[in-house]
């Protein structure tokens, strides 16, 4: 059976990315410059040159083409500004979004469990994470690496985590469903896992929300320290089955994770 790729899905994703690009402020809608001719006049500097005049044609709001080409261009405006502060007034970096270098994260997913962690963002396209948490039965940790080619939106993550072997509970049994005849032997379980996930990261001010999903490889152990009694119809123990050595389990499966990151330490 040939799988169908729906181009409309890709288009929708592209449009969604564009929307969030705009929302992020990186694609600010172009606006007309306030002045077509800016005159810088040094203040309280007797004897200095009276002014420096820079001529610049006004740009059309939509296409940033000179107004001489575009219709209905605004009339030229002359503004007098302090030349010593002019750089700060017009520097393009002032419109750029603040970059935060650190974040505190909380995420929940499978097979990750629920974790709290620290995110390190050395630049806008890379995020490193170190997290610790629980799968409801044991404590564990996880290291991660996330690439954000656009600085937000589509992301690619690689993570490695581990939970030590411990006694299973009802929640663990519900997530890791096994055949009924195997169930008595799954008394303790522990696992390491590798995630490779695609996702979408959305930045809202100092908060980062993301949803990642993909493929996970889980390598685990199953232990049964207590022998399993097999009983007859009368309830009497007929014989015992004992896992002398731990069983080794490998799982290839889908995985999903949702997270909230609070960003701080920004410049």
């Amino acid at each position: 059976m040939r799988p169908h790729i729906r181009p409309i899905g890709g288009m929708a994703f592209l449009l969604l990315s564009t929307f969030f690009w705009a929302a992020e402020g990186r694609g600010d809608p172009p606006t007309a410059p306030p002045a077509a001719e800016v005159t810088y006049t040094p203040l309280a500097r007797p004897g200095a040159a009276a002014s420096v005049t820079v001529s610049q044609p006004p740009l059309d709001a939509a296409s940033r083409i000179p107004s001489s080409v575009a219709p209905a261009s605004p009339p030229p405006v002359t503004t007098v500004v302090d030349a010593q502060h002019a750089g700060a007034e017009v520097a393009p970096s002032s419109r750029r979004k603040k970059h935060y270098y650190l974040g505190l994260s909380a995420d929940v997913g499978l097979p990750d469990g629920a974790l709290l962690g620290l995110a390190i963002l050395p630049n806008h396209w890379l995020r490193l994470s170190l997290a610790g948490g629980t799968n409801s039965a044991a404590w564990g940790g996880r290291l991660g690496l996330t690439f954000l080619p656009l600085g937000f939106g589509p992301s690619l993550s690689f993570e490695a985590g581990r939970y030590g072997a411990t006694k299973t509970n009802a929640m663990m049994r519900s997530f890791f469903n096994v055949p009924s005849w195997v169930d008595p032997y799954v008394q303790e379980i522990g696992y390491s896992y590798l995630n490779s996930q695609l996702g979408f990261d959305l930045r809202l001010g100092q908060f980062l929300l993301y949803l990642h999903g993909g493929y996970s490889y889980i390598a685990g152990v199953i232990r049964a320290p207590q022998p399993v009694n097999v009983t007859g119809t009368s309830g009497a123990v007929l014989y015992q089955v004992h896992l002398v050595e731990e069983g080794r389990v490998s799982v290839h499966t889908w995985s999903l994770k949702a997270a909230l990151v609070f960003l701080f330490a920004g410049i």
Binding site: R2, P3, I5, P179, W181, V182, Y215, I222, P227, V228, V230, G232, V237, L238, Y239, Q240, V241, H242, L243, V244, E245, G247, R248, V249, S250, V251, H252, T253, W254
Partner: protein, 187 residues
């Protein structure tokens, strides 16, 4: 589009799957009763007695449903031992031991043949004392997978029959049977 086969291959390779390997599973059947030997002792033939016990094969994953049967990739016995419990303290009297595992006759078709697997057929040559534990040499793991794939009409049991020969006691005796198994599962 050329990407289709590649995406399909990636999708298939990522389809959820589970594999499990259990290298050392020990089944202990306690206090298996062996009957007293009441036959002649001066015969040229080695005196023999037979006794057996049953395992519930469902506890080992046996199923008549093909999809479930395929979950068990392998099951083998690699170790077997008798541990003297009552009536005897030394198992040096054992000279020959034959162990066969089989499915009991079907209730619907009692005369139909059922799978039988010879687990061990051992003749002890040396005269050294055995002591309370008799370890049965099994040179190669014995595949018992056919016993875990019964038909709809088969019973969910495995009968393990011992036939032992030697200078057998005139009274009944009991021993624990310890079987070492390995198994691998896939889903």
């Amino acid at each position: 589009m050329r990407a289709h086969p590649l995406l399909f291959a990636i999708f298939c390779s990522c389809a959820p799957s589970v594999e499990a390997d259990f290298d050392a599973v020990e089944i202990t059947y306690p206090d298996l009763a062996a009957p007293a030997y009441l036959g002649p002792t001066n015969s040229a033939v080695i005196p023999q007695v037979s006794f057996s016990f049953e395992l519930d094969s469902k506890s080992l994953g046996a199923s008549s449903i093909p999809a479930n049967q395929n979950r068990i990739q392998s099951a083998a016995i690699y170790r077997l031992a008798l541990v003297a419990k009552a009536g005897v303290s030394d198992l040096s009297f054992l000279r020959t031991v034959q162990i066969v595992a089989s499915l009991p006759p079907s209730r619907q078709q009692p005369l139909a043949p059922t799978p039988q697997i010879l687990i061990a057929n051992y003749t002890r040559a040396d005269e050294s004392p055995v002591g309370g534990i008799f370890h049965m040499p099994i040179p190669m793991p014995v595949n018992i997978l056919p016993l875990l794939r019964p038909n709809q009409s088969d019973q969910r049991k495995i009968v393990v029959t011992f036939t032992v020969g030697g200078t057998l006691p005139r009274t009944g005796w009991k021993a624990d049977v310890v079987m070492g198994m390995s198994a691998s599962l896939k889903d």
